[in-house]
Amino acid sequence: MTNLFWRTFPVTTLTVRQFLGGKAVRVVVAMSAIPCLFALIYLINTTVATPRDYLVEVVFRGLMAPTLLPIMVLILATGALGNEVEDRTLPYLTMKPMGRLRIAFEKLLGVLVVAVPAVLAGLLATYGIVRVAASDYQPVFRRAAENLDLTSVLGPMLVAATAGVVATASVFLFVSLVIPRALLVGIVYVFVWESLLGRFLTGIRIVSIRHYVESIFVDRLDDPAYTLDNATGLRAALIVVVVVSVVSVVLAAWRLRRMNLE
């Protein structure tokens, strides 16, 4: 079985082994459990919000999209090629009769193989716990229109998160080939660019992955209670995500071709 992986996607398999062999996966898995912890806290006390609100605003839009998802992906994406550059093992891959595009693509695939399940599993587990919590949720204000449906949140969360993982992973796969300390730069990006500046300068949203992730999420959720200022339409957002990913992978391949490997 492993033999089959090695033969079909050697670089991807190598990348996954690299993650499993290092500490990166442990950190990422630990981080994917963090939303579950928040869900557990909600289990203790459901008075703070409706289950739907909690899932949408606290877990996804408060925690996952702006902070956890980008950092989890960053750790993996900057390590996938960055560690090979730093450890000077990259020649073992580039000195093969194999296109650079394939190396870049397989590396991205390796990141996704680890990151997507980690992010989605965290969201799923959180969803499950919040569902349990919802069973003893007592609506405080017995508003007739209060929407308690949780199931309709799950799909949009998973779709938007997946799009976010793909876009972030491909962008930072390329960045790690250009900048030596890509992880630090990425963290500054997440905390300064996406969180701080994005809050004040609305124009920045156009060049913010988080913005498109939320756009997709809000669009799929289709609930007037949850909106996003200047949201981009679903189709446009998806196109942006796809184009950004493809361009990043192509750039990474171009960079691999041009790079001088010491």
């Binding site: 500490k23 950190v27 981080m31 963090i34 912890l37 928040f38 806290i41 909600y42 203790i44 006390n45 703070v48 606290v58 925690l63 902070t67 956890l68 950092i71 960053l74 750790i75 300390r181 992880l183 630090l184 963290i187 905390f191």
Partner: protein, 297 residues
């Protein structure tokens, strides 16, 4: 040296060839304590980026500026508008906590990650120190540096506020208790944050990973701690102890316990509880680090 032997009246002709060869060292060898102290000084200097390029210095400098800013602000306002409502010490410590956290995230990885990654550890451990000496030296260095952010600005604030009083000397005498509180808060916070930062850094040789994990750990535990603190029924027996889930809450609680008059209303725990728990956390961090530095046997 031979000059005086020259006969008077004649010009001294002096020439000597010196042995530039290796000489044995016959000075003192000061032992373990001195070695550990040397490590403290060396680590502290390098973590601040002294003798390194300006890129290594820029973040510490920015953080110092950020820490000095509120001091200037508070002192300035008090000077011109003595009756204005400005921050008290508690508010000050809560504001500077963020800077302290970032500062520790910057310097703690500098302290230990390089030694691991660049393989300097075998050299250190072949010297006249033990592993525990090494760790304590790193902890002291981190804590001393953090003290420059957690204590000195607050101390300056205290000093300037007394100098603004009509009778500075007597004001100082009257407010010695505040100074003592500032010292306790600054010292404890430095030791506590430093130990946590070092403990995390001891797990990796990659500085950027350590920085990332420290920052994320501070943020996430803070969010979790606050959420849990809010979620749990205030009346329950263990509610107050939930502040210890995050470094930020712990610090706020400590400051609240030190200045009971401030409007911090986090928990009812006594001061000694904070001191004890923070010291226990420091001890646990040390144990974890000691385990991380056990030779691969």
């Amino acid at each position: 040296m031979a000059l005086s032997e020259a006969p008077i009246g004649q010009p001294a002709r002096y020439g000597e060839v010196f042995d530039r060869g290796y000489k044995h060292y016959d000075g003192p060898q000061l032992g373990r304590g001195a070695a550990a102290w040397a490590l403290v000084r060396y680590s502290a200097k390098r973590a601040l980026g002294i003798k390194k390029s300006w890129t290594a210095k820029i973040i510490p400098i920015l953080l110092y500026v950020a820490a000095a800013f509120p001091v200037i602000l508070v002192v300035g306002i008090t000077a011109f508008a003595p009756n204005a409502e400005v921050w008290d010490y508690a508010d000050f410590f809560i504001f500077t906590f963020v800077i302290e956290g970032l500062f520790v995230a910057t310097i703690a990885p500098e302290m230990v990650c390089g030694d691991r990654r660049e393989n300097v550890l075998p050299l250190y451990f072949s010297r006249a120190i033990t592993r525990l000496d090494y760790l304590l030296a790193k902890l002291v260095a981190t804590a001393l540096l953090t003290l420059t952010i957690s204590f000195i600005p607050a101390f300056l604030l205290w000093l300037f506020l007394q100098l603004l009083a009509d009778a500075p000397l007597s004001a100082m005498g009257d407010n010695l208790d505040d100074l003592a509180r500032v010292a306790v808060a600054g010292g404890l916070i430095a030791l506590y944050l430093g130990a946590i930062g070092l403990m995390i850094s001891s797990f990796t040789g990659r500085k950027s990973v350590a920085v990332a994990v420290i920052v994320v750990a501070f943020l996430i535990t803070q969010a979790l701690g606050v959420a849990l603190f809010e979620a749990v029924d205030r009346g329950s027996a263990y509610h107050d102890y939930l502040v210890f889930l995050s470094a930020g809450q712990t610090t706020i609680g400590l400051v609240g316990a030190l200045w009971p008059d401030s409007d911090i209303d986090l928990s009812e725990l006594a001061l000694w509880t904070y001191v004890a728990v923070m010291l226990v956390v420091v001890a646990i961090c040390c144990l974890v680090m000691l385990w991380r530095y056990v030779p691969d046997e």
